[in-house]
Symmetry: D2
Subunit: 231 residues, 4 copies
């Protein structure tokens, strides 16, 4: 499921989406160094790991802001909307004003739908998304020769496209803020689709910060009461 | 265009949207007081106004964070997406997981579309949005008797609904951050639809902070080079 | 301990400091309204209170950003430094570049010092703070007639003044961010002096948001493990 | 003035301070990539550079959040206080609760003081800072054998130490926020001491992001009106 491209890894998510880890800044060692500005002492690996666990358990969270990740994400628009409610971090998203949407939308598998739905229902859903796209495309075609109107057509007629359509963005986020994302989006009652993205991140991140991630799992993920997200 | 409800005012925007000013905290006087913590001096109205103009001209922006507005906004999803890229502020949006969308979408007037489009094109656009909604509705109807599945149906099948559909949210924002929003979204090349919302705010706000707003117009709005926004 | 000035209340803290509540925006009702944008339903008081408790217990925190407080604070510089590590909020502080410091410093009572210290030790501390001030004052006096140099003298020679000296600032903060401040600064191992300010806020705030504050005490303050702050 | 330690460079600032560049994430290329998520096109170096200049000139600032720097800074407390007013970024500072301050304070040269001051004035300043330290040290010595009281002594008696004393911190900041810092702190009317730190950063950063920095100088630094900072 994960394929490497140089030091980068990409994990497929849902039917056509992905999460790719583009870059990492910082490390377990950097967390320790940041915390030690406060104490000035040096220590052996065992004490370093203990310090990280101590920081996590006692909510000393700023040292975890020293770790920064850059992800490239492809996901349905409705997932992007939930994602972008997390304000501490930076998003750069493909613009539907400057670029025509692809015929590329999310189709939920029958296994993630209530039993009542049949393959015919999913076909009807796909057909509707295709029809909207056909109209969107034909509207844009009418101004193909007029650069100024083209941009206006794209920005208005995207209104036809359902929030199941895929978008793509870059996300820069420090680990303190990422912990908050994971805590909420890995929770049982997070929507299945965004949980799938949270799980991809949960698979990509630990190797870069093994002690920090172990501490996060021990003191945050395993302690969380039933948590709900609001979108 | 603006109707009062108590101290509140609401301005209609686009075909079915609005901006309502729900609450205001702070004032011109509060800006002056905040700046004077630094200087400790007291002054007459003329000097107070001069101080506000001085702060604005010289980019002393923190005193303007003392002014906080609360708005209630109804706008198309694609406008909400642009809006929520402004991260310094607080959004509470109606959730499509907990509540069924209304058959309520934005229809652009012919006057805001390139000349090439005819009334028939707009009718085709409306028809497509209605059809998607019909399917969305019928999908949700299938689980009307099953509370658990109902929520899952709502969160998946909203994928059918175009970003022209209306949503509603509350927005809390301080005036420093609001200036940034207005500077970008009142600009010539902002998308017409979000500019209409920026203009509604531009109409609602000045009476509450007359000197501050005059200073903002003088030193920021009138000085702005051609500014572009990125979504 | 609390004296009213109009709707404002001020609580004395330490030997010469205070916290004054300058303004409040929002209420329990506003939290409910913000959360209900999501659900659209109306309810009776009992259900409203239940909703607030539900939001707090399940970490739906954005509705609490609808409540905004404005405080005026006088505290020692070392307390202000700890305070201003809380980045989500807005500070306007009296500037020592534009204004001469007063001979006004914090003197810890013997009851908040380890037993080993005698009244003579406190006298020595006071004497040292006074002497530094005397030198600061004489340095500034040398440029009393030269406006340009006066500002330079103030900004450099404040270097003599200990972090026990009092400063004053305005603080605008939403309740979500304030909860984080209180959770960390009311904790057993917070420094005594900043805890005294947290307790003043803990006394001033509840009457304005009784249900929200009760929920905060129930689900956050009483549940907190031993928490440590880092400065 | 700049000495390399591995890939790291350190620049001496004031009499005993420094700025060290600890790590960099992102590059000119990453800015281009982030902006191109929007446009999907590929280009040659000349067009890439043009794109960066276009983004800077037109205030498309989010792509510059892809560049993140980590600095280690040693500066006087009064500089740290000004610095930490910049809230978008992350600070980890040496704690005076957990560690005894060194006898290490800033002494302004006569060349950066108004003419009226003599070498004797500077000697008096140094003498006063030393005397406060002596008292601080003796207060802490009284509890040398009592671990619990030691921490309390450190946190209270630091009150004696002037804001000329040096502190040390790590700072993680993205380039968008760093531009704001540089714009305000390189300005003519910024305090001399923090301007010296801003100039050190101005010397360290450009080689890592040559096009971006050139664009910043062209469209922001050279265009800035007289700018004032407020602390």
């Amino acid at each position: 499921m994960a394929k490497e491209t140089g030091f980068l890894k990409q994990v497929a998510v849902l039917d056509k989406g992905f999460v790719q880890l583009v870059d990492v800044m910082g490390s377990d060692q950097r967390v320790v160094d940041a915390a030690r500005v406060s104490t000035g002492s040096k220590a052996d690996p065992e004490r370093d790991k203990k310090l990280i666990f101590y920081l996590m358990e006692n909510l000393h969270e700023t040292p975890f802001e020293k770790i920064v990740f850059e992800f490239n994400v492809k996901c349905p628009l409705f997932v992007a909307r939930q994602w972008q409610r997390h304000r501490i971090g930076s998003f750069n998203e493909r613009s539907a004003r400057y670029r025509v949407f692809d015929l590329d939308y999310y189709v939920p598998g029958l296994d993630v739908l209530p039993d009542v739905y049949s393959p015919e229902d999913v076909q009807a859903y796909v057909k509707a998304l295709k029809q909207s796209y056909k109209l969107y495309e034909s509207m844009i075609a009418k101004v193909a020769e007029q650069p100024k109107s083209r941009s206006r057509a794209r920005e208005v007629f995207r209104g036809l496209l359902g929030v199941a359509y895929y978008t793509e963005f870059f996300w820069t986020v420090n680990f303190r803020s990422l912990m908050n994302f994971l805590k909420l989006r890995l929770a049982q009652d997070a929507q299945y689709e965004i949980r799938a993205y949270a799980e991809a991140i949960h698979a990509l991140v630990p190797e870069h910060i093994p002690w920090t991630y172990e501490a996060f799992e021990t003191f945050v993920l395993k302690q969380s009461p039933k948590i709900e997200s609001d979108d």
